[in-house]
């Protein structure tokens, strides 16, 4: 007659491995979610900074200007340095700032402008796809020319 020795039966081993796998999968999934959330938030932070930087420049130009003309995606302001034009690039790659001194681009940003009384409603939007999810940052402001 065989005597039973210390150890696990096949059922116990299979059950333990199954339980171990479930626990490992849950742990991995949590770790993966944390790193993904951090990625998304880091990217969103970058988008916010990009949107703020574009908005601050546009606001500065409108305030310093003597007059502003706004229509949809184009803004033309008259400053002491000459005419400054903002417009969205046709390929959607960003907002272009064109002045007598040259041209610069706020990458990834899209702006819209609307005349409102003597001022201009400015909206800046930046979006990007991160881990298959579109994240978007919107900022709105109203700025009146000739004020500092």
């Amino acid at each position: 007659m065989r005597r039973r020795r210390g150890g696990f039966t096949l059922m116990e081993a299979v059950f333990a491995m199954g339980l171990g796998l479930i626990v490992l999968a849950a742990g991995y999934s949590a770790y993966f979610s944390v790193t993904r959330a951090e990625d998304v938030e880091r990217r969103r932070e970058m988008l916010t900074t990009a949107a703020q930087s574009a908005m601050e420049r546009i606001k500065g130009d409108i305030r310093a200007s003597s007059a502003a003309t706004a229509s949809g995606s184009t803004l033309v302001v008259k400053t002491s340095d000459g005419i400054v034009t903002y417009r969205n690039r046709a390929d959607g790659a960003g907002i272009e700032r064109i002045s007598g001194r040259g041209r610069s681009v706020f990458k990834g940003a899209i702006a819209s402008f609307a005349r409102d009384g003597a001022g201009v409603d400015v909206s800046v939007r930046v979006d990007a796809k991160v881990h298959g999810r579109v994240i978007r940052v919107d900022l709105d402001c109203f700025v009146v020319p000739r004020n500092r």
Partner: protein
């Protein structure tokens, strides 16, 4: 016979301790997972709050600019409530103070959070004809 029974009881005891150890490990791992998930939630909540605050600040600033502009057209302008922009709204209150006006503008950002993120900006505005100047800019949370 007594020896065999004692051995069996010993194995049974050890098996019990293995089960306890396994359950403790499972509990520990689930605790780690719970902490990770709580961290994700806090990362999202904090980032959402920060974004909302930034947006609210721009709305409050829009309120100051709009109020200053209205004051150039109408010296008795006292403020407005719930003026909407695409990302939220602002409330403005303007009061006359000597040569200028004290303006308090609060921006409220649209948000899925129960409490809308808000920022208040206070400024002093002096109006000269159709132009205005903003001074003493203070931002509160």
């Amino acid at each position: 016979m007594i020896w065999t029974a004692s051995l069996c009881r010993g194995i049974a005891d050890r098996r019990g301790s293995t089960l306890v150890a396994a359950l403790a490990l499972v509990f520990l791992i689930f605790a780690v997972v719970t902490v990770c998930l709580a961290r994700i939630a806090s990362i999202y909540a904090e980032a959402g709050r920060q974004r909302g605050q930034t947006s609210a600040l721009y709305l409050a600033e829009a309120g100051i600019q709009k109020a200053a502009h209205r004051l150039t057209q109408n010296a008795s302008y006292a403020g407005e409530k719930q003026t909407r922009l695409p990302t939220g709204y602002f409330d403005v209150k303007a009061t006359r103070t000597g040569a200028g006006y004290a303006i308090a503008s609060t921006g409220y950002a649209d948000s899925p959070l129960a409490r809308h993120p808000k920022r208040t900006v206070r400024a002093t505005v002096t109006v000269t004809g159709s132009a205005f100047a903003i001074a003493d800019w203070r931002e509160n949370r």
